[in-house]
Structure formats: structure tokens, C-alpha cells
């Protein structure tokens, strides 16, 4: 029954989306208020019906209704409750349904928070959103229906990929999707602006909070995924430049660029058509990423199914959405009022530099991800574009960006003075140089990159503090500095914290890559070994039975000198449905770094192969990502940037026609 309710609701979403995509647009052209108002109503209907469909599928998973083939293929009665729920989106069909649910959720939020948006503009935004929903729901109903029945129903399901049965990964897809799909709002705003033929600073004020919200989720989603990879997938690796990781990283880069260029539009009425283009590109990356993964063109753990029918639909959908919006851009953008001017040395041009580097990096990640396909198609054999290439690109493109990032916030709008800004960050430069040089001296050979990375991190961190110090005039009049500190707006704190977060991430990457201490050895009970000043003693193994797996658990006692630190209990699990072997690393975070133990296989004679690590400052990666998210949220909570319609400054009169 639940299956039919879900199926029926999904068809309703399709119908409401069709109405919502067409009629409000006609209304906007003809100036028919009633047709335009339909946009809001259809948005609510789509959301409620999508919610019903999602609830129906969730119910089918909860009660293990194996007559629904999607449940039979992806669930199992013995699975813990959390993974029965996360199993809903742990497969191709369900994850698309989640995508649609979030898409309609955002449309509803725009309708609700944007009640003060001019009706015509809102109608156009929502109709673009409905068009996207229409495309996705057609895709689901035609090629990937999660509500199809299975007759006769099997007694037991196939179970979920054990790698996905993990708390980190249960929340990773929804978080990431909130980010991906959140960018659809910026996209819809961009298309609506092109249709209206006008981009105003006010437009940027509407777009920025939505982009920021999407960006915060995207950051969180990527960080969760990377954290999961760190403790589950490999042996302490946290980023593999896997096509799927790249698929989430490209929209993130584009969204980051968009956040910054929207500031220029808002403050200076410049870079308008570029910002619109960026909004289109950012969401196109989201679509491309999702579909590259789903179509199975790129092999990956995340590719749930390879199906030519789906591939064709996907290509057509991409061509229509991306091609269509680019064509619209090419046609309408040149007709927009030209932008404001600014000098070469100014906050604007610093933000342009930011945009150039971030977009270039996004483009290069795209090239690197797709390059093996091109080479193979050209008949030159198969190649792998692995981490070494992307690390090279990151070093070439991101280091200048970080250097510029230190200076940018210090420059004045319109016409800044580089010498003045340099004066403020000069100490940062000196500190960074010393930090780098000190490292070169303390080590020997092959540490140039480490020194460089450390230098960049210190440079950025110091520059952020220098910026705050100059803002509160800490050195000129320290007496009133504290008072001024309290006057710093949340948006400014947000910026500083997010930028510092980046510095912390660079620090974590550099230090953990360079100074990881590892031992790879065969141990018998009673053996002990030293890893980075910690004594790991192997106390033996014991069998463990979980709800749907059996495992071998290793026992390690870790001590520093004579002081007991912790016991580490890594597991080597074998899941029963489907049969699969996973390693569960045991991690104990210390302030200075993580103690990390993995138990491998039996080496005969009660000896076991084990991997023991000390990963210094690895937590800085997640801490830095968290700082970025906090920065984004702080900025979002700033009065001027709340979701919805921030009131315009007086001089930007809100025209009824907008």
C-alpha cells in the first residue's frame, strides 16, 4: 500500500511541477497576477507530495517490505534501524528521490522566505525550480522508479553495502545533497535575472544568503565524506581525488567563487554578468557531478547502477539544462547594463583574483577527471589521472590564491593602496618565511613542500589576525580596541573565521602528510613497538559478533613512557549480507594527533599483520572545515544577510518591474 501511495504522490509532484513550470512563466510575460501566484502554490504542493513519497519509501524500508523491489535490493531485516533509514538514500533510486525532496524543499523555502520578493521575479525563480523538479521526477518515473513491485516478494533482502553502513556516511549524502541542491536556488535566481534582463545589487543580496547556505552544507558534506574515508575506507587516507570526490569538490569551488563575486555585485554593482555565469556554472557542476556518478561513466563505489537507458536520459537532461541556460546567457547577458569600474589594486580586483584562481582550479579538476575518458576515446590507451596530478594543480593554483587571500581583505573598495595593505601584512610575510625556513633547517631533504605549506598556513593565519587588529586599531589606540572588537559585524567575523579555517586545513594537510609515523608489521600477542614516542602493545585478538557481521577484534594498549594512554580496538569485519570484508580502524585523538590502529589478517602462528600510525594534527582538517561552516553560518546570521528579502539601501530603488 505504502508503495502505491508513494508512487501516486510522485506522479502528483510531476503534475504540479509541470503546472508550476509553465503557467507562472506565462503569467510573468503577460502580467497576469493570478497565474504568477500559482508558482507559490505549486511549490507547496510539490514539497508536500515529495515528502509523502519519501515517507512512503522510508516506511517500506522500516517495515522491510520486500515486495518493493528497491527495498529487497538494498535492505535486510537484520540491519540496524539507522541503516534501514539511511538505506533509503543509499541507492540510486532513493537518492534521486531525496534529491527531489530537497529541490522542492528549497523552492518552498524561497516562496516562504521570499514573500517580499517582487511577485514577477519570485514567479520566475519558482518556475525554473519547478522545471528542474519536472526533469528529475520524469527521470525517476521513467528509468529509476523506487516504488516498483516485486512479485513474488522475496523472504529476505540483499542488504546494504557494508561500507555504507556507518554513521558518518548515513548523514553524508543528505548533507551533500542540501549543498548540491541549494545551488539550484542561485541557478534559478540567475535564470530569472537573465529573463528579466537586469542584475542589481539587490539581486546579489538575495542570491548570496542562499549560496552561503548551500556552501555551508556542501562544506559539511565533503568534510563528512572525507572523515568517513579516513576511518573506514583506506588506511588513514582522507582524500583520493576519486571522480566522485571531485564531483563534489567542483561545485564547492564554483560556489566559493560565487560567494565572493556576489559581494562585488552587491557592494560595487560590478562583475554582474560574470556572477550570473558563475551561478549557472556552479549548479551545472552539481548536475554534472550527480549524473556523472549516477550514469556509471566513471567507475566508483558511488555508482550504484550502469544502465544505458539512464545514460541517454541523463545526457539529454544535461544538454537541455546546461546548454539551455548557457544559450540564454549568451543571448541575454550582453544586453545587461554594464558594470561599475574599479582600479587594479582594490578589494574588487582581489576578489576577481580569487574568482580566477578558484574557477581555474574547478576547470582543471574537471579536465583531470574527464581526461582519461578523452585519452581512451582517442585510442591512446588507458591512463589514470591520480592524486599526483591534482596535487600539482593545487600547489600551482591554490598557493597564489592563499597569498592573495592574506592581502585582499585589507584593500579598500574601488581604489586601494597596495603599499598600505602590505604594511599591515608585512609581519605575516616575515613570520611565514621564518616558519618555512626553520623547518628546512630542522629537517634535511625533501621538505621544501612541507616548509612551503607551513609557510602558507602561517601567512594566512597571521594575515587574518592582522586584519582584525587593523580593523580595531589594536596598535594605534589599544585602549578602545576592545570596544571596537564588539562592533565587528557577524559577517566580518564570519569571513575571518572561514579564512582562518582554510589556514588550519592547510596546516593539518601539511603536517599530517609530512610527519606521519607509521609501523607496518607482524605482531604476536605480547609484542610491542614504538610509534612516535608511544608504545603500542599487542594483547591479542578476540572474535566479536555484531548484528549482521562477525569480526576479529584486536587489542592494543598504548602508553607514553610509563603512563597508560588508551586501549585501541580495531576490527576486521566480515558482513553477511552481502558478504564483504571491511576494516574498522581504531582511532584515539590526542591534541597533537591521532593514534590509529588497523588489524589485518592472520599471518599464521597466532601472529597478525597490523598497521599502526601516529597522524599528527590530522584533526585540523575537520576542525578547519568546521570553522568554515561556522564562519558561513555566522555570516548568514548577520542582519543584512538573512534569507529572504534584505531591505535595499535607499538609493537602490526597488522597481516594481524587477
Amino acid at each position: 500500500m505504502a508503495g502505491e501511495i508513494g508512487h501516486f504522490s510522485l506522479i502528483w509532484v510531476l503534475v504540479a511541477a509541470a503546472i508550476g513550470a509553465v503557467l507562472p512563466q506565462i503569467g510573468a510575460v503577460k502580467g497576469d497576477t493570478r497565474l504568477m501566484q500559482l508558482a507559490d502554490r505549486t511549490a507547496y504542493v510539490q514539497f508536500l507530495m515529495a515528502l509523502a513519497a519519501f515517507a512512503a519509501l522510508t516506511y517500506a524500508f522500516l517495515v522491510s517490505d520486500f515486495s518493493v523491489s528497491n527495498v529487497a535490493a538494498n535492505s535486510h531485516t537484520l540491519k540496524p534501524l539507522l541503516y534501514k533509514i539511511s538505506g533509503v538514500w543509499g541507492n540510486h533510486e532513493g537518492s534521486l528521490l531525496l534529491w527531489v525532496l530537497i529541490l522542492t524543499l528549497f523552492a518552498t523555502l524561497v516562496s516562504w522566505r521570499g514573500a517580499k520578493l517582487p511577485l514577477r521575479f519570485r514567479a520566475r525563480v519558482l518556475s525554473v525550480q519547478s522545471l528542474l523538479v519536472f526533469g528529475f521526477v520524469s527521470f525517476i518515473l521513467l528509468t529509476s522508479n523506487p516504488f516498483l513491485r516485486f512479485d513474488p516478494a522475496p523472504f529476505e533482502g540483499n542488504g546494504l553495502n557494508p561500507l555504507l553502513q556507518d554513521p558518518g556516511l548515513a548523514f553524508h549524502p543528505p548533507m551533500l545533497y542540501l549543498g548540491y541542491v541549494g545551488l539550484s536556488v542561485s541557478f534559478s535566481f540567475a535564470i530569472a535575472a537573465l529573463l528579466e534582463g537586469e542584475v542589481t545589487p539587490l539581486w546579489a543580496r538575495w542570491v548570496r544568503p542562499w549560496t552561503l547556505l548551500a556552501w555551508v552544507f556542501l562544506t559539511g558534506g565533503i568534510a563528512l565524506g572525507s572523515w568517513w574515508a579516513y576511518y573506514e575506507l583506506g588506511w588513514g587516507g582522507w582524500w583520493f581525488w576519486d571522480p566522485v570526490e571531485n564531483a563534489s569538490f567542483m561545485p564547492w569551488l564554483a560556489a566559493t567563487a560565487l560567494l565572493h563575486s556576489a559581494i562585488v555585485v552587491e557592494k560595487r554593482d560590478a562583475l554582474k554578468s560574470w556572477t550570473v555565469l558563475l551561478a549557472i556554472i556552479a549548479f551545472s557542476f552539481s548536475l554534472l557531478g550527480t549524473f556523472l556518478v549516477r550514469s556509471g561513466i566513471l567507475t566508483s563505489v558511488h555508482a550504484f547502477a550502469v544502465d544505458p537507458e539512464r545514460g541517454v536520459f541523463i545526457l539529454a537532461f544535461l544538454a537541455i539544462v546546461i546548454g539551455g541556460s548557457m544559450a540564454l546567457y549568451a543571448w541575454r547577458a550582453p544586453k545587461m547594463v554594464p558594470s561599475g569600474l574599479f582600479g587594479i589594486v582594490s578589494r574588487e580586483s582581489a576578489l576577481v583574483v580569487n574568482n580566477i584562481f578558484l574557477s581555474t582550479f574547478a576547470a582543471v579538476v574537471l579536465i583531470g577527471t574527464l581526461y582519461p575518458l578523452f585519452v581512451e576515446a582517442s585510442g591512446a590507451g588507458q591512463i589514470t589521472v591520480g592524486p599526483p596530478f591534482f596535487e600539482y594543480a593545487a600547489a600551482v593554483l591554490m598557493s597564489p590564491l592563499v597569498v592573495a587571500l592574506g592581502i585582499g581583505p585589507l584593500l579598500a573598495w574601488k581604489r586601494g593602496k597596495l603599499p598600505k595593505a602590505m604594511q599591515i601584512v608585512l609581519p605575516a610575510l616575515v613570520v611565514a618565511l621564518i616558519a618555512g625556513l626553520a623547518l628546512v633547517w630542522s629537517q634535511s631533504g625533501g621538505v621544501v613542500m612541507t616548509a612551503f605549506g607551513l609557510g602558507l598556513a602561517v601567512w594566512l593565519l597571521t594575515a587574518v589576525f592582522a586584519e582584525i587588529a587593523s580593523r580595531i586599531k589594536l596598535w594605534q589606540s589599544p585602549g578602545n580596541a576592545f570596544g571596537r572588537l564588539r562592533k565587528i559585524t557577524r559577517a566580518q567575523w564570519g569571513m575571518s573565521i572561514a579564512h582562518a579555517g582554510l589556514a588550519v586545513i592547510i596546516l593539518g594537510v601539511t603536517v599530517s602528510e609530512a610527519f606521519t609515523d607509521e609501523q607496518l608489521l607482524v605482531m604476536a600477542p605480547g609484542d610491542s613497538t614504538m610509534v612516535a614516542g608511544h608504545t603500542f602493545t599487542f594483547d591479542g585478538v578476540a572474535p566479536v559478533a555484531g548484528p549482521n557481521y562477525s569480526a576479529v577484534r584486536g587489542f592494543f594498549t598504548v602508553a607514553e613512557g610509563d603512563d597508560f594512554v588508551t586501549t585501541l580496538l580495531p576490527e576486521d569485519r566480515v558482513y553477511s549480507n552481502p558478504v564483504m570484508n571491511t576494516t574498522e580502524a581504531a582511532i584515539y585523538p590526542l591534541f597533537t594527533g591521532d593514534l590509529y590502529a588497523v588489524i589485518g589478517e592472520a599471518a599464521g602462528g597466532n601472529r597478525w599483520s597490523v598497521r599502526l600510525y601516529f597522524k599528527p594534527m590530522i584533526s585540523a582538517l575537520w576542525a578547519g572545515a568546521l570553522m568554515m561552516m561556522i564562519g558561513g553560518l555566522l555570516s548568514l546570521s548577520d542582519r543584512r544577510l538573512r534569507l529572504g528579502l534584505p531591505t535595499g539601501r535607499k538609493k537602490i530603488a526597488v522597481k516594481e518591474s524587477v
Binding site: 583506506g234 569600474l341 591520480g386 592524486p387 576494516t583 538609493k651
Partner: protein, 156 residues
């Protein structure tokens, strides 16, 4: 009868094979210098059944077998280049995580610089065009217009 016999033989071989696979344990080479060399090589070799993971990073069976091969070659006295050539011979360029620098990858390696220049030119040209257009039109901003209107009204 004959078929059953074949099945038994094959099964016996499979079991023996499996047992042999277990025996390939993760034993580092006794010489720390060679082991370090092997380890750094492992970081460059792709685990063929994983997603951009190196064999150093993966616990897949195939990765383990490749690690054993790398250690074996290094222990036999192969230079890193020899080991790479050995693996490329068997698995193709695909096995190298770092794409080789040859005519088919020139474009790839140059892409960061090319894209950077292209984008910078695009944005720079756009800004210049803007300036000439603005200079030609010399439009008033909304606020200036409002101010002008006010002034004109005031005069009337």
C-alpha cells in the same frame, strides 16, 4: 565421472590457491632502505580495482598482491624505474597514478596554466570592454539621477 574428477581437481587447486594467498603476509622487507623504497613506489601504483587509491592505501586483495610484487622486485634489486616499467608492461599506463608526460598528456599537464591565462584574459577583456562602454555612455547611476531630478525640480 570424469566431470566430477575435474571439479575435484579444480577445487583442490582453488583451495590451495587461497591458502597460498593467505600466506602472502604483509611482511616488510628486512632492509629498511629497500622497504622505504618499496613503500614510496607503492604510493605511485594504482590499486586496479579501487577508485584512485594507491596500493599503499588500499586493503583490497589485489592491492596486497601488487604490494607483494613490488617488494619482490625491489628485493631482487630492481631500480624504481625498472619496477614501474615492469608493472606498466603488465597493466599499461593505467597502473601509474601519475600520468606519464607524453604527447597524449601534454594538454593535461599544461591545463592549469592554460585555463588560468584563458580565464584571466576573459575577465580582463570583459572589464576593458566595460570601461570603453561606460566611457562612451557615461551613464548616471540611479542615485545620481535621483539627485539630478531633485535639483531640477528644485529649480523649477
Amino acid at each position: 565421472m570424469i566431470r566430477q574428477f575435474v571439479v575435484v581437481i579444480v577445487t583442490a587447486f582453488l583451495v590451495a590457491g587461497a591458502a597460498f594467498a593467505v600466506a602472502v603476509d604483509e611482511k616488510p622487507l628486512p632492509d629498511p632502505v629497500l622497504e622505504a623504497q618499496a613503500r614510496s613506489l607503492m604510493k605511485e601504483i594504482r590499486c586496479l580495482v579501487c577508485q584512485n587509491q594507491s596500493i599503499e592505501d588500499s586493503n583490497a586483495d589485489l592491492a596486497r598482491d601488487l604490494r607483494a610484487i613490488v617488494r619482490e622486485r625491489v628485493a631482487l634489486g630492481d631500480t624504481p624505474d625498472n619496477v614501474r616499467a615492469y608493472l606498466v608492461d603488465r597493466y599499461g599506463d593505467w597502473v601509474l597514478l601519475k600520468p606519464p608526460f607524453n604527447p597524449s598528456t601534454y594538454l593535461l599537464w599544461a591545463s592549469p596554466l592554460l585555463a588560468l591565462v584563458a580565464l584571466a584574459l576573459l575577465l580582463f577583456r570583459r572589464q576593458q570592454k566595460n570601461e570603453t562602454r561606460q566611457a562612451a555612455m557615461a551613464p548616471l547611476s540611479d542615485s545620481e539621477k535621483a539627485e539630478l531630478d531633485k535639483l531640477l525640480e528644485g529649480e523649477q
